[in-house]
């Protein structure tokens, strides 16, 4: 599978989904007006990956800002990962947040409570 590599912009995140290593990363800002347009290819890609996933998939989410419209799309991403996990593959989500950013921590906890995949909350200390 071809990896997804997208460079970040002021409104959209850097994305690296690598199926050969099983490491997926979303990093930066996710505040586009039309988040579906941005996330749809990622969700579709995960649908393909789901057919033959690696034994272990590690997902690193390291967002500085995201808007509510992205929050739904990120949930769609997690739902795909949940399906992979449900099919007895190891999936681990690392949710990064800056030390004073309680809102970002809470956002991670929201997902953790909705999605049945192990989450690790990781504080970034500067």
């Amino acid at each position: 599978m071809e990896p997804i590599i997208i460079e970040g912009t002021p409104k959209t995140p850097t994305v690296r989904f690598d199926a050969t290593e099983g490491i997926f990363e979303i990093k930066g800002r996710s505040i586009p007006e039309n988040s579906v347009e941005f996330y749809k290819p990622l969700v579709d890609w995960l649908d393909s990956y789901r057919e033959t996933p690696l034994d272990k998939t590690v997902v690193n989410i390291r967002l500085e800002y995201f808007n509510t419209s992205s929050s739904k799309c990120i949930l769609d991403v997690f739902k795909k990962l949940e399906a992979i996990h449900k099919a007895k593959n190891e999936v681990e989500v690392n949710w990064y947040y800056e030390e004073d950013d309680e809102d970002m921590l809470e956002a991670g906890e929201d997902y953790e409570s909705i999605i049945r995949v192990p989450f690790k909350m990781i504080e970034i200390v500067e």
Binding site: P10, Y65, N67, S69, D103, D110, S113
Partner: protein, 185 residues
Amino acid sequence: MSFSIENFFTDQSNGNVILFYKGNVDSDAINNVLDEVEEKLLRVNEQSKLRKKVYNVLVESLQNLYHHVDRVPEGFEDQSAEKYGIVEVKRVEKGYKIMTGNFVKTSNVEKLEEKIKRINRSTHEEIKELYKFILNHQRISAKGGGGLGLVDIARKTGNKLDYSFRNYDDNYSFFFLNIFVNEEY
């Protein structure tokens, strides 16, 4: 015109206005407003927690306008704006105020007000649950909004949504939203 929209903003201007914008709220306008406010908050070395909160709330306010405003009434001074809105950000004592204003068809007022009232009578815990419920159960609408903007604003600020509607003409009202982001929350 039955009242002056701009006066409504300037009349209440206690505090230091760091941004005022009126006109079409398209993607470029949103970028410009966000860049300008972020730059100003960085320049005054605003503490990062407050800076992030203001930025987050501003993103949601602007994108609420982007996704939800009704077309300007016929006869309104600015016909070039498909999505007409007003935004003001100011430094006040103990925080920031973000004010937005936009036209709403009077027939849509009741629905919007009901939504705000539901948020305003909820506790912080209930707002968190409401956020999660909408996140998990509601699809993104045809307009592109997630239905979460106001809930998110109330959740992040921890404050009630201060709002008002003014009659503009037979078919239109003007909606004002006045958001306060506290220094210490």
